[in-house]
């Protein structure tokens, strides 16, 4: 017998291997089913899938890629957190250090270009779902969950944009934050806000309006950096992860990848 084959047989026969993989080589229907069912990641899938839905030309794999990039961003993001401190004193210098002291380092690049990629793949995924009419009953709700995920993806990118604390970062965020000040009835420069007053006292002013809430201050500063950092590293990924779970659950419950009835 081929020695490699022999080794393989030996390894797959050990107690350790068998304790991990509770199925044989997936080359027959029984083990193919078990391979999917007994693995926590794979069991997101059904054991059998509609042939039309497996086609790359149908789904473009864009939902799957978006999820994969989400995972890539999570891992590289955690690694970046080891090196980065969200304070005025350190933020910029930590990025410099990352770039100067790590030979061949592409951690920051992977994270940044991955983020841009995710924005693109999530648009393409939405575009595919639209073009196949997959938002139609019974998938209306999951389309809605998807729209929130789309917003979250863009907010994740947006909050991350501030963290390097360079000119590019603060001025891009300034453009966005100024919109907060224009919120009707909730921003100081928004229409109708000046109507909200008791006697001479304005209820909404630059110390409590929507922009203030966004920036944690009247201007972009250290409190903003902390706020965006927590949103970017904890709050938004947490909500996104929850909603992705709902999204996947509903893909299954709505009958799997859509196909003609």
């Amino acid at each position: 017998m081929n020695p490699l084959k022999k080794l393989w047989n030996y390894v797959t026969d050990t107690q350790v291997w068998k304790s991990i993989f509770r199925h044989g080589t997936p080359d027959n229907p029984r083990d193919q089913s078990l391979a999917v069912l007994s693995n926590v990641a794979l069991h997101l899938h059904p054991v059998k899938t509609r042939k039309s839905g497996v086609r790359m030309s149908f789904t473009w794999c864009m939902g799957g890629l978006t999820f994969f990039i989400f995972l890539v961003e999570s891992v590289t993001g955690i690694l970046l957190m080891f090196y980065y401190r969200p304070t005025l004193e350190f933020a910029y210098n930590d990025i410099i250090a990352l770039r100067e002291h790590v030979p061949l380092g592409i951690l920051r690049e992977i994270h940044r270009w991955g983020a841009h990629s995710m924005v693109i793949t999530v648009w393409l995924h939405m575009f595919r779902v639209f073009m196949t009419g997959s938002y139609k009953p019974p998938r209306e709700f999951n389309w809605g969950v998807g729209v929130i995920l789309l917003v979250l993806t863009m907010l994740l990118s947006f909050t991350g944009y501030l963290l390097p604390w360079d000119q590019l970062a603060i001025w891009a965020i300034t453009v966005g934050a100024n919109m907060g000040a224009a919120t009707p009835f909730a921003g100081v420069e928004g229409p109708g806000t000046m109507l909200l007053k008791i006697g001479d006292i304005s209820l909404v002013h630059s110390g409590n309006d929507a922009k203030f809430g966004l920036l944690a201050g009247r201007f972009i500063g250290e409190a903003t950096l902390l706020r965006f950092y927590v949103l970017h590293c904890i709050a938004l990924p947490f909500v996104a992860a929850m909603l992705i779970a709902v999204h996947f659950w509903r893909v299954r419950k709505d009958g799997g990848i859509s196909g003609p009835l």
Binding site: F58, W113, M154, Q167, I170
Partner: protein, 359 residues
């Protein structure tokens, strides 16, 4: 060469660029049988890559086109283009099959089930590996940008939001921040979530088709391709310091001054037309604009429900129809306002700066 650049610069002017995008969209949706042919699209792709490559020899163009944070836009444009082509191509093939009474491509396979392992699992694995290779390659070639440390005292020549928001920033030219930055993005999200409840056409669920849902594709695609993606392109590559227009081959001169001669509707009516000066009462002053806005939102919906959209109205019922048409009218107000600006220098239809309410 120079004259060609001048021509492109001239054609990139927002008025022409946007009109061109609209006309192109109309043609795309009319003649899809022609351009979905693989030969046609291959030729277009090759020609566009050659043109792009040639354009990169121009230092002004290369400066913006190759900015690290702008590189994803090219990837986005080519991938949206490719997948749009793919979806339309498959839609056309399906339409032809169904016209002959045959099952469409998806239908031919949708009753067969395949084991997830290996079919799906391996496809996913290949996708992940290819994408990882792509991302690593991209990261090796292109360094992540880092400019000077943040300094609130040093205003850059131009402050731009990240590229995926530049369509909205471009809208700021025509609408005030409360509309462009708050109401419109909010309505995009609300409209997208509500969309499945508006589109009551049961056909085209789970397969590519063009004919069976032509107007849904038309309207949604117009929003996505023309109002979202084309405006991002305009906002990124043709807007320089002061958000002034610059052709793709023009130098971004931060001293460029553009005379702003925009005026409000109230001035056009009271000052230019009646020659009596602005009335002091706000409501009287803005009455024309207010009436026009109210008419736009309240007369057009029933008018359409009685004429062109009669069938749609009967299917949807009053509540659904009203909600949908209001969202569509607000979306349509953007191109309308753009053209009013370009043709009459119109600034605001209703302008009540006293309450920071400008429309």
């Amino acid at each position: 060469m120079e004259w060609l650049k001048d021509v492109v610069n001239f054609l990139s002017n927002p008025t022409i660029f946007f009109t061109g995008a609209v006309v192109l969209w109309v043609l795309i949706m009319k003649y899809y049988r022609i351009w979905t042919a693989p030969k046609f699209i291959k030729t277009v792709t090759i020609l566009s890559v050659i043109a792009l490559g040639a354009a990169l020899f121009d230092p002004n163009f290369a400066k913006e086109a190759l900015k690290p944070d702008n590189v994803p836009i090219w990837i986005m444009i080519y991938s949206v283009g490719f997948f749009f082509w793919l979806a339309m191509r498959r839609g056309l093939l399906n339409d032809d099959l169904m016209a002959e009474g045959l099952p469409n491509l998806e239908k031919q396979e949708s009753d067969k089930r395949v084991y997830t392992w290996p079919d799906l699992v391996y496809s996913e694995l290949i996708c992940m590996v290819l994408f990882t290779a792509f991302l690593v390659g991209w990261s090796v070639i292109l360094k992540a940008p880092l400019e000077d440390p943040a300094n609130a005292g040093v205003t850059p020549a131009i402050a731009k939001a990240p590229w995926y928001f530049l369509g909205l920033q471009e809208i700021l030219v025509y609408y005030d921040p409360w509309m462009a930055g708050v109401i419109l993005p909010g309505l995009i999200v609300v409209g997208l979530i509500a969309m499945p409840y508006f589109d009551m056409n049961p056909k085209g669920n789970g397969y590519y088709t063009i004919k069976e849902r032509f107007w849904a594709l038309w309207v949604w695609g117009f929003g996505f391709v023309v109002l979202w993606i084309a405006l991002i392109f305009l906002g990124t590559f043709m807007r320089g310091p002061g958000w002034n227009f610059f052709g793709p081959f023009e130098y971004w001169d931060s001293h460029k001054v553009v005379a702003l001669a925009n005026i409000n509707l109230s001035e056009i009516v009271w000052v230019q037309l009646f020659n009596i000066g602005l009335p002091s009462n706000i409501l009287v002053r803005e009455s024309v604009g207010i009436i026009l806005t109210v008419l736009y939102m309240s007369v057009i919906p029933p008018l359409l429900a009685k004429t062109f959209l009669k069938k749609l109205y009967e299917e949807m019922g009053l509540v659904r129809y009203s909600l949908m048409i209001v969202l569509v009218l607000i979306m349509a107000s953007l191109p309308i306002k753009m053209y009013l600006r370009w043709s009459f220098n119109l600034k605001y239809i209703v302008s009540i700066p006293e309450y920071m309410f400008n429309l």
